[in-house]
Amino acid sequence: METIVNLDRISKRFGKRTVLNDISFTVARGEAVALLGPNGAGKSTTLSILQGLRDAASGKATVFGVAAGSRKAMARIGITPQDADFPQQVTPRELISFASAHFSQPDHVDNLISAFGLEKLIDRRTSGFSGGERRRIALALAFAGRPELVFLDEPTTGLDTGSQAMFNDYVRMFTANGGTLILTSHNLHEVETVCERIVMIDGGRIVADGPISEIRDAVGGKRIRFHLNGANGFSDERFKAADGYWSGIVNDVEPTLCRLLNDNPSITQLTVENLPLDEAITLHNATTKH
């Protein structure tokens, strides 16, 4: 698979503070990768190096095989503005036309209008637009140049359910057609919906990198939750009681269920569910640190 993004031992300092410490990862064509991490972890700095806004102190960053930020690379990249805050005196059509003029084969504005539901907004000045409307314009701007690689920053913040579904469909089609996506978001549901892989940065280092399913598997699987009448005598250190239910995360689901049901016939309301991604990541990081 062709490598689109390659960060090789990138470090960056701001004054005495090390923001990125020797980070490396690659992104292949057609991948949808979420760059995750707490505020100040180094996500934005990583992105700004890939987008040519900053230079790395050491290491090598390439996009499409050429230096990140070079004109050759930028001509194939689409980026959403970090804040969907546009000049209020212009219309979305004018903004899209402005962005498109920088690319050799931009998408037709009508395609972007229908893809992001801009029909009613396209010729109105952006003053007074809601956060969701601005976000849709930001997405249209990112895709205006028919990019092969797109950076999306919190893409669905403020979007209603219909717009989110529209966005999900568009992104799936984009990656299915060989487009590559790097997304940052605090909305892990969005991450799970759109991406198949996460790169987790914390303290300037990569603390997790892999397919979402692998990270879940590494943590160990599933949460078992049940109600137990007369729980006296029940003892399993993996389970804790709260609000009348016992709940615990286990790796060996089937043996645990057999044992639980054999030993405790009064178990009711038993559920087995996948861990939410945030819990899986937290557990994964805790496991890794230990």
């Binding site: 900053r54 930028m74 980026i79 503005p81 402005f98």
Partner: protein, 244 residues
């Protein structure tokens, strides 16, 4: 060229659709002229000189003061940061802003001329007026470069205050409000080292139908080179500070 036109159209639309921003800037010099320059209304020659001085004041006011403060405010916006990620050089964007500012500056010059002809009878021919506008267009270049320097070195909060601190003394020292012959000797000496004085000299020589003074042309060229360097340093410093 395509990118320059794109940036120019956007910059012009942004300005045109903010009349509350540009109308006062464009009209202010002609308003000042109607207060102070009109005192020479009954003398066509004095009126012509005053009009020439206020034309220079107008072009510098818009291209240095308004343009510089505008850059300082715009470059801190998320949209400006995003614009930097679009493929292509930064220079078409900057050139487009410069040309837009110069055009608005020339509108301001035109408004001074219109007020001058409405309230007085300046002794100038059509050719002289065209030459005067040409001088203003030349003056716009170093003034815009000063504006770029200010816009990239000052923050949005301090830019207007600094612009005032620089522009008003330059207007006075350059003899744009009080003719150089009536300036105190020490001020007149200092005046020789200001760009506004040499811009004024070019304009006054047009009114006098005299040949353009070489030393003023050289001075304008030198100031253009100097402010070109400071503008370049300003852009580099800002880039390093915010994206280094």
């Amino acid at each position: 060229m395509k990118q320059f036109i794109t940036h120019f159209l956007l910059a012009a639309k942004l300005l045109l659709r903010m009349p509350g921003y540009w109308v006062p800037a464009v009209i202010f010099p002609s308003m000042l002229f109607s207060f102070f320059g009109v005192s020479s209304a009954d003398d066509p020659t004095r009126s012509a000189y005053a009009m020439a001085s206020f034309c220079i004041y107008a072009i510098v006011g818009v291209t240095f003061y308004q343009f510089g403060a505008g850059i300082a405010q715009q470059r801190e916006t998320a949209f400006d940061v995003w614009s930097r990620t679009l493929p292509g050089s930064r220079w078409p964007s900057l050139m487009a802003k410069l040309v837009t500012a110069s055009l608005f500056g020339l509108v301001s010059v035109a408004s001074v001329i219109a007020v001058a002809f409405t309230l007085s009878s300046p002794a100038v021919s059509g050719l002289q007026l065209a030459q005067l506008v040409g001088v203003c267009a030349v003056a716009a270049i170093p003034a815009s470069l000063m504006g770029i320097t200010l816009g990239y070195l000052a923050s949005s909060r301090t830019a207007v205050a600094i612009a005032n601190m620089v522009f008003l003394p330059l207007a006075y020292l350059g003899g744009l409000w009080v003719p150089p012959g009536r300036l105190p000797d020490v001020i007149d000496t200092i005046s020789q080292y200001t760009p506004t004085r040499h811009m004024g000299e070019l304009a006054w020589h047009v009114i006098a139908k005299a040949s353009i003074p070489t030393e003023s042309l050289i001075a304008i060229a030198a100031f253009t080179a100097l402010f070109g360097v400071t503008a370049w340093l300003g852009v580099k410093t800002d880039t390093k500070r915010r994206f280094g």
